[in-house]
């Protein structure tokens, strides 16, 4: 009797086990399907514009909703230019922050500072954008822009008229740098924590200073990971739409002057959310999104595959 009962229970248990496993498998497969669906849907939505403009879309400068000629070059330039400058600003600062958090600060201060960095990551981009237009922009227009123009005006970056409103590429670059910093800093911090203590202790025992240990041991041991951390920051800066739309001024044009207005792929999409009338206009916006998607997916794949070689738990602000 008990034996039969036990067997029956084990059968129902096995069935339940099997179906629970299948249920969780379905959920896990859903993630992969979701990624595929995002890529497929966005590429499919860009189809109309792709058929009309082909790959030439990326190198064409037109963006004219009246005659329905669309091209992405201005926005590709704006994206690459602002992202590159923002990362040039953010990467060294972020890595220095990560070194401070892991190698210099006493434990309590490191905990507090790491929390602050994560809070910086938690600020919604629309709030940072609001701050960008109403606080940072006017400050730049009143103080920093005239100063840069006076002192460094011989460089092409700081030529041209200072915008009265404070919107423009420079404001966008600073906002993007603020947004990329927490990501690069938190991934670098996790990387530095993976360096074996024996290696560092050995180097200290040889009489090296802290800086020499970092240059000679810590950085070489994590170099590829740091590259990946920076790529993750690049991905964040490339794709930021809202804050950039708010501060960049929203104009086509290719110029080096940081005082001028511009537009990025993401900010152009965001700015035209109400304005797209014709199907080809909508499809061209989706084409911009597709360009952005392809770039960020590749950047992330590369960065993730590199980071994966370092065994660490990801807890940071991502």
């Amino acid at each position: 009797m008990t034996e039969r009962f036990a067997r029956r229970r084990s059968l129902s248990d096995r069935l339940a086990d099997r179906s629970f496993r299948l249920l969780t498998l379905a959920a896990a497969l859903f993630f992969v399907v979701l990624l595929g669906a995002i890529v497929w849907k966005v590429l499919a939505g860009a189809r109309l514009a792709f058929d009309r403009f082909g790959f030439g879309f990326v190198t064409s400068r037109a963006w004219d909703p009246v005659t329905n000629h669309f091209g992405a070059l201005d926005f590709v330039f704006g994206t690459v230019y602002t992202t590159a400058l923002a990362i040039l600003l953010a990467a060294p600062v972020s890595i220095a922050i990560a070194l401070f958090l892991t190698k210099i600060a006493p434990r309590w201060l490191a905990t507090v500072a790491a929390t602050l960095v994560e809070m910086l990551a938690a600020i919604p981009s629309v709030v940072l954008g609001l701050w960008g237009i109403l606080v940072l922009g006017p400050f730049l227009a009143d103080h920093l822009d005239p100063f840069l123009r006076r002192t460094l005006g011989f460089l092409p970056f700081f030529r041209g008229d200072v915008p009265s409103a404070g919107t423009g590429l420079l404001t966008a670059v600073i906002v993007l740098a603020i947004m990329a910093t927490p990501i690069i800093a938190s991934v670098s911090r996790e990387l530095f924590l993976t360096v074996p203590h024996e290696l560092e202790d050995g180097a200290y025992a040889l009489g090296l200073t802290r800086w020499e240990v970092i240059r000679g041991v810590v950085i070489p041991a994590t170099r590829s990971g740091l590259v990946a951390a920076v790529i993750l920051g690049v991905g964040r800066a490339l794709g930021e739409a809202i804050a950039v739309t708010q501060v960049i001024g929203g104009q086509t044009g290719i110029h080096l002057s940081l005082f001028g207005a511009g537009d990025t792929l993401a900010s152009r999409i965001a700015a035209q959310y109400q304005g797209a009338a014709s199907r080809i206009h909508v499809s061209s916006l989706v084409y911009l999104a597709a360009v952005l998607l392809v770039i960020t997916v590749f950047a992330n794949l590369i960065a993730q595959l590199i980071v994966r070689r370092f065994e660490f738990q990801r807890t940071g602000a991502d």
Binding site: A27, F30, P124, L206, W211, I242, A270, Q304
Partner: protein, 295 residues
Amino acid sequence: MATGAAVLADPTANLGRRKVRNHIFQAVATVAAGAAAVVLAVVVISVLHRGISALSIDFFTKTPAPFGATGGGIADAFVGSAVLVGLATAMAVPVSVLGAIYVSEFARKSVAETVRLALDVINGIPSIVIGIFVFELLVLGHYQSGWAGAIALAVVMVPLISRSTQEVLRLVPVALRESGLALGVSRWRVTLGVVLPASFGGIMTGTTLAVARAAGETAPLLFTCSLATGIVRANPHFPLQSVPIAIFSLSESPDPADHARAWGAAFVLIAFVLVVSILSRLALARSRRKLGLRR
């Protein structure tokens, strides 16, 4: 390494210069960390400072005043945001947790790695592109709706919740699972009755962090749920107003009174986001300690 080798030849060589270099490095790194703290403080303080004067009872209970008029509030945005984020959470949590269970309890290593990679890549997709995806999927040819907005937010939340759930499931000691199995308890009961309760705190933390993130997301809603009509509404068949979209459109307005409203909304949003993230991080630290893991 070259510096290291040169130093090793004679440890006392240029000791003064080496020390100076070391001090410079430490100063630079400290200043960098200080700068991040200052930026955070400047942003938070300017939002608090400008936002607090815009707050009033009306701000939370009334609908927007017509352009140029004074008074009014953004009650529609608060209600809409609550509905959108609530729906998104209800959609994202079950699938995220189930998928995380598969990855950490059942999957082979290669499969687990693939699923994790997919999640990380989704996490890296710009949220405006997620918005475009849901726009293509649901809105194009139909209408914007609360459902579309909630689904877009759910896509943003799924990788966050699932990744953090995987991390806490990994922290549950193997011995706990083994003792359950040794008692003859079946796998699914061990998972639902032992592993999941043990990691409940961590899953809640991951979820609240994702809620904080979704509450502040603007870009996924632009194309899916941004054309609301300014009345308080909770029915997701219609487009719902939301706090981030309200801030976005108010910030682009030429009217200074709208800027004040934007600051008020930003105050509420940033207070919500920061308080939620700080509390959940504290809770996470506690649940980690409870599982006997310190990092």
